[in-house]
Symmetry: C2
Subunit: 593 residues, 2 copies
């Protein structure tokens, strides 16, 4: 069993050196904070991760939730976990003081989430509670806020997000759950919801569902969807008409019950905000949720990577290739073999590159909300909107390969339950699916974000990247990479123009047919930018002192690895994206799959 699952020195380097998150403390909203309060929060999370979460990694996976007589029984350690998180204030750490939070920047609270999820992503019930409580905090009446938020933030009550229905997965416009007025702001909410994570369980005292449904007579499509707060128990202790219709047994994240819920005829809930604005509200929370899933991908990847490093340092096998025949010499640790190092360097490049991008985006989140000028808020909002689908997708998609390569480093042992690596490989597989599949994220990126406001976001991003390139040009060692990134930006822009010209023909289907490849290309370029930024920071540190020399040199080495092994993949993608041959559009003729 590996002993390390995250890397605090790298986390600190990313937070304080590469992204200088302390600058946020200059904004009035965060003015009570400092590096000290950030560190205290990260330390508190690490204690819970080390003491409650990581030790239960295998146990939570092997003893999955079960539906017994209509009730969901979960692993007993979940109670300790929810109490510890509630007591520590982590669930609502980035909420306003008014709502019971600590006004911590999202860049810090999401890094807290990273440490927890890297320790045990099968115990992450509280992310859902945070999301649900934030919807209430943002759009709820004072009454709803006072009634629900405190017990959610202290871990007593579970929050859920009820979007998906059996006939409407990715297509939210086809939701049919219905609501009918039953008094002031009170509604009867009925229908079925599926895949509801932590949809019910016995480690909490109440469950607060945030449910998308249509008020009778509402318009078709997304414009007729409202949002309701639907508790399992009311204040008087009476139980609402909600039935656990089933529990999904899953490939991974087995610790979190995924429920099929039935909201019956007598189920009552409260309208949140105004009618028919439910999906708007939900979408305002979406960036945060998607960044959260990006962190999930990076966190599971981190755990897998560190497990692989530890194993390959200890496992002797064969001799160095240049001394293959020295049979009387001992076998060497497999981390010395180039093929293993190549796999480990990819993992490191993907994990740390992902964490860097996610930190960047979390910072945009903070700046888009709390910058002092409207102009700044708008700028960072555009950047946030543009980068969110990439920050969700790259860590999850690259994470499939990270966990797979990490497993490969274990050889035959990787396929056994003797090591947690097979679990990481299973757990991460959901991340490119939930909170919008990779296909959906890609259509969002190319179809909405890139084109928004005449490409304003893309121009802003190019400006940010140019700053990094300019800085890098000051260092001889980095020039080559700065020039490469420059060329990649030009190439991406050529391709974007080409695709926009397809969009201009009105053929949306063709325009978006290879959106997923455009996403892959954008991901590579964005991560290359992050690595150049890391390289510049490391170079500055090396120029300033000899402290932590090998730490910073290893960062530069990993940057080079990304540019030499991963970035070249843009050429094949570009070739396809500029290619006119249409092959994936259903032409109505018979095709024999």
């Amino acid at each position: 069993m590996a002993t390390q699952y995250h890397d605090r020195p790298t986390i600190n380097f990313l937070l304080y050196d590469v992204h200088e998150v302390e600058k946020a403390c200059q904004l009035p909203f965060f003015s009570d904070h400092s590096r000290e309060t950030f560190e205290m929060t990260l330390d508190a999370a690490t204690l819970i991760a080390d003491n409650i979460m990581f030790p239960n990694l295998l146990s939570v996976d092997r003893n999955q939730p079960e539906l017994v007589d209509g009730e969901v029984k979960v692993h007993p350690c979940l109670k300790d976990y929810l109490k510890a998180l509630g007591d520590s204030g982590i669930i609502g750490a980035d909420f306003t003081y008014e709502d019971g939070g600590a006004q911590l920047p999202f860049s810090i609270s999401s890094m807290v989430g990273h440490i927890l999820m890297a320790a045990n992503n099968g115990m992450m019930y509280t992310g859902l509670t945070t999301g649900a409580a934030r919807l209430i905090a943002s759009f709820g009446s004072e009454e709803l806020k006072q009634k629900y938020i405190p017990d959610m933030l202290n871990g007593n009550w579970q929050g859920t997000m009820c979007l998906t229905e059996p006939q409407a997965g990715s297509s939210l416009s086809d939701i049919v759950c219905s609501a009918e007025s039953a008094g002031e702001n009170e509604f009867l909410v009925s229908g079925q919801k599926i895949f509801i994570s932590a949809g019910d369980h016995d480690a909490c005292r109440n469950v607060v569902h945030l449910v998308l449904a249509r008020i009778k007579g509402a318009p078709l499509g997304t414009k007729g969807i409202s949002l309701f707060v639907v508790p399992k128990y009311f204040e008087d202790g009476s139980k609402n008409d909600i039935t656990n219709m089933g529990i999904y047994h899953k490939l991974g994240q087995k610790g979190v019950p995924a429920m099929h819920l039935g909201f019956g005829d007598q189920c009552r809930g409260y309208l949140l905000g105004e009618p028919n604005k439910g999906l708007n509200y939900m979408f305002q929370m979406m960036n945060e949720a998607r960044i959260g899933v990006g962190f999930t991908g990076a966190s599971i990847s981190s755990a897998a990577y560190h497990a692989a490093v530890e194993y390959t340092k200890e496992r002797p096998q064969s001799r160095r290739l240049n001394k293959k025949n020295a049979l009387d010499s001992p076998q060497v640790a497999i981390i010395q073999h180039p093929d293993i190092r190549r796999m480990l360097l990819f993992q490191k490049a993907a994990v740390e590159g992902s964490l860097s991008l996610l930190t960047e985006v979390a910072q945009y989140f903070d700046l888009s909300h709390y910058s002092e000028s409207e102009e700044e808020r708008k700028k960072y909002h555009l950047l946030l909107e543009l980068l969110t689908p990439i920050a969700k997708t790259y860590p999850c998609e690259s994470g499939l390969r990270v966990t797979s390569d990490a497993l490969q480093c274990f050889g035959g042992y990787g396929f056994t339950e003797d090591f947690p690596i097979e679990q990481y490989y299973r757990d991460i597989r959901i991340t490119p699916i939930y909170e919008g599949t990779t296909g959906i994220q890609s259509q969002d990126l190319l179809g909405r974000k890139v084109a928004a406001e005449n490409g304003a976001a893309l121009k802003l991003l190019a400006g940010e990247i140019q700053k990094t390139i300019d800085e890098a040009m000051a260092y001889d060692h980095l020039k080559k990479y700065a020039n490469e990134l420059s060329a990649e930006i030009k190439n991406l822009s050529t391709i974007t123009r080409h695709l926009i010209s397809v969009a201009a023909t009105g053929d949306t289907e063709r325009f978006l047919s290879d959106a997923t490849l455009y996403m892959e290309l954008s991901g590579l370029v964005t991560i290359a930018w992050q690595w150049l930024k890391i390289g510049v920071t490391a170079q500055k540190k090396l120029a300033a002192s000899d402290d932590l020399k090998s730490f910073y040199e290893s960062k530069i080495h990993t940057m080079k690895f990304f540019y030499h092994y991963e970035l070249p993949k843009t050429s094949g993608l570009s070739k396809r994206l500029l290619d006119e041959e249409v092959l994936t559009i259903d032409q109505g003729t018979e095709f024999q799959f």
Copy 2:
């Protein structure tokens, strides 16, 4: 639950049209055979697959073998399966008449294996029996043959291959199991072996282990390894000193027990062939075993692909992108969405491309053994040796993506146990590990096979590919693709020369450091060749008649997909392989992973 897991029309097309396997019947060894006997064998396998294997797919996975009081209990259906396979003659179908076989070409017997494994790869116990029995048939004395082969081929006795030891996974030269003479050809064989598939179970009456061990005093390394036949029970019914030390619980292929076996002080076995030649013998079986694993990858991929096709045809979700806002129109089946079609076309291209390559290589196997002239046998032996590592690796590595993309097509349902797709995703993960990891295959390809006999094999392969290119040039539709393949061959040859020049410096470690990327490149080019071959055949069929028009057109469409979406990846790989920057070799300096 999907109903289809393999595609017989495509299998027949590959066997009889693309690869013309009936030609084998002109060789004296196969002269009793014809398309009719081939079809009968494939039909017999399909019956067993349909009636015993596929219906038990989930059940075998969910009720995995357990070690109870030292004995291995397996799913009861395994007895029916072994009896059915034994009765049908499939286990030894390609053995000589003399050894109790039917002298079927390997190209047919391995396609039989494909159908069985696609139905349920968690029941594939007999491939191991076939491999073990073939070692005895090839190198055993008459006595050993008569004593062991009949009951192995009739399914009463299980065969195993005992190579791996706790301290020697990929490094067979470090095997320490020992053997000591105890009478004529009889030895005491002791030590531990791990990951022994079907290493013991209660669905058979005896287990015959083929064990690699060192006779005391033998030379170090691979030159001191001998091969022994070690039965669980002797003829007199007495039990050998073999202990089931443990059973591995695994990520996938849960139906097959992977055992940790202890061969005790009193364990007796029989030397097979001559002393110290054990690894040579084993390697002569290796091509066959590796092609078998390639088929496993292609088979699990086939099942996953067909499940995804079936699901995406039935699952309605959203509207076509050009009619996104027609909310009052019904949702369409997701197979109509370009992103889903792209994933399905990739799966089809990888599965059928893999099956075509494997058929090609299986044919080389037959021709290398049974061609009439020594020259022909040598030619096909060289081609077989060169292509085997690719035919093992491409189907397994691409299969990871096939099963992952197939799972993605199911959305959230793909992550649940409601569909078998999550099982395929787990099952296939072992295939790039066992029978030589992808890293080992890649070193074999670049380090041994490409350089062998001054590159003679590579020249032969280029000649074979040129034949396909020449044929394709006759068709206007295919010219573009023939020219592309031509350019890829030139590029591969440039890269090979470059790498060989690195080898010439004596720095083997650097020469082989990116062997896995060279493998990836070779795989893409080889599969592109197979698709051009398929394209030529389909074009000929279309020119000849209107029968099965859409079947053949779909093949050509899939060929195009491979050239437009997969083959462009060679450019990124080539860039890296020609790049001089060394980043994955351990330079002895401290690196902070």
